[in-house]
Amino acid sequence: MFNWFSQIVAVTHFSMRSLPQRAGSSVTAMLGITGVVAVMVGVLSIAQGVLRTMESSVGDNNAIVLRSGSDTEMMSGLAGEDTRIIAEAPGIARDETGVLASPELFVIINLPMLTTGTDANVPLRGVQTQAMSVRSSFRLVEGRMFEWGLNEVIVGTGAQGQFAGLGLGASIEVGQEKWLVVGVFEAGGGLAESEIWVDAAVLQPAFRRGNSYQAVYVKLESSDAFDEFKEALTSDPRLNVKPMREAEYYASQSTVVYNMITGLGTLIAVIMGMGAVFGALNTMYTAVSSRNREIATLRALGFRAGPIVISVVSESLLLAFAGGLIGAGLAWLAFDGFLTSTLNWASFSAITFAFDVNAKLLAQGIMFAMLIGLVGGLFPAIRAARQPVAQALREL
């Protein structure tokens, strides 16, 4: 065993010394892997970003109530009376302001995108006083809260970053009226950050909705209280509603977008991965063949095939690791936090999100690189080690 080990050390030492000669092809192999990993991580970070937006800010205690038969807020409709009944259901948490149930109205408004100047469908939410407390991660970061009853709005950080005319003090035109932007808010990175909020009582007449809402967001006393809450609402003969855990609701909303991006992204990543493997194999074969004489000489001298294979593979892994690290780093630098928006098919409105290059993705990228390095180094190494020594020595 010691013999083996010392052989490995000797061979590796030998190959490290010849590395400068092979610098060109080694750097190329590494760069190839860098490119693939950077693009892969970049593309998948889009899906991660969407997912993060969808999933965040949703506690286990949160639930949403829609009209039965609707799958999204947009399609749902609840009478003002219904929302009052819902607010009386058991299991809802309370604080000093009262019951934490928030009836809300959801519409779309057209605003130009900052990047292209063309119109986008921006979500506009009509809320009541409870909306902020129901969402535990809500936080005003600039300006102030709008005054109830006035034509004032607050905008999410995401919305402000993507759409034109949402700076503090600017006004949006709604029909004949102008609504003033008085504050900017954050909501833990969640969907709400793509939205504009206004007093429901102001929104309803503007969009001719009478006293109707679309959903009621509630914060329950505990996660377990959901079953009781749901039972009470579905068995109430006055109501025809569909209560859901908010997490479930978002999951169903995001499916189409997430699947589309992940599907496409993975397909692209796989194809690129194949290209990377071929490229890596190619470079490794070339690198190994340039050392054929060295390797043949070592074997002629008595070194065994095993240590040689290990040495070549380790070099390949090292290069791949370096390449993967750089690629992941580049992706993180270039993509992480990059704000953009896409269309949420479920609500037909824009959802803003930031590319999310998280630790999990970085790790995946580097592991993928190492896999390429392993495959890329193993085959040429084995081939070199198995070639008849005499033949290898003869080859010039």
Binding site: G24, S25, T28, A29, L31, G32, G35, V36, A38, V39, V43, G69, D71, M74, M75, S76, V107, I108, I109, N110, M113, T115, T116, T118, D119, A120, N121, L124, E173, V174, G175, S252, V256, N259, M260, G263, L264, I268, I271, M272, M274, G275, F278, G279, L281, N282, T283, Y285, T286, S289, S290, T340, S341, T342, L343, W345, A346, F348, A350, L396
Partner: protein
Amino acid sequence: MKYFFLISSGLKRKKIRTGLTILSIMVAFILFGYLTAIRQAFDAGVEVAGVDRLIVRHKVSLIQLLPQNYESKIERVDGVDNAIHSTWFGGIYKEPRNFFAQIPIVPEELFDMYPEYIISDEHKAAWLETRSGVLVGRGLMDRFDWKLGDRIPINATIWGKKDGGRTWEFDLVAIYEGAEKGTDTSQFFIRYDFFDETRANGGGLVGWYTVRVSDPDKAAEVAAAIDAEFANSAHETKAEAEGAFIQGFANQIGNIYFIIMSIMSAVFFTILLVAGNTMAYTVRERTNELAVLKAIGFTDRGVLGLVLGESLVLTIIGGTLGLGLAWFLVSMGDPTQGSFPVFYLPVRDVFIGLGLIIAMAFVAGIIPALQAQKLQIADALRR
């Protein structure tokens, strides 16, 4: 080409290396082809949009409705040839996943406004006869395996029925084909009169107007005139060219061009690097051989040609294989299963791909080829 066997022998020297390089190049072009098809899917709507058509919608919000009586007012605007209304039905067929557009519209108006929808006279008549009849696109028919005469139930989320129910039933009596490859044949057209008399509320309100202008060059002016007509009214409008409207949607989905171009560039650059490096290495390795060729009497330029020739053969094989495979993959259909109304690889882009193949061959091979050209025989033979 009598030198061909020399080129091919050079490539056969290290079969594995040649094979792997070809495979890498193949992958680059599969990606090129597939990404191009995706980009085309986003662009297709814009390309086939009628140059003489405008979309007029509610200025404040896409989901706000417009009065039906706007139609005659719009038609009175100078430069307008015809105006028709459409509405978003937004129902669900079995599951939300099976998303497709359902649109109440007046049949004769549709025939007039959309010449790219090809419908047989028989079907036109059938639709006009059946109040609950629907006109369905070929793509949609194929997607769900529907047949003429089927009864299609749609669960309405927005529009309740006067009788209180939410399930609307339609009869499939007419089919339309697309005139061009990019024409959307995934739509479901409902008769407006049936829709209007059955819906519980929203009577007299429609979603948006499609307007044909008599002179496409004046489209912008006519759009402005329409908006001016309804400015300061209870329902202000926004009119724009159909192409621009569709582009707006694509833009919302994301800056597709940028993303796709970035990916393609990254991939190409990487593969170019690998191919170039392989070729450079090959030349270094074959210094002796190349010197012998020169000694025998091959000119400097001849040897340059040999190396470039090898580069060309490699990339042509890899590139055409890649484009071919991309074509095959694309023909397997929309990867998002329904989000793209059309999905195909335009012939124009295949030609661009071929051009790229040649360019890649040159860029990857030129430096090694120049090195081969400059090789000094005496030096090289001595090694």
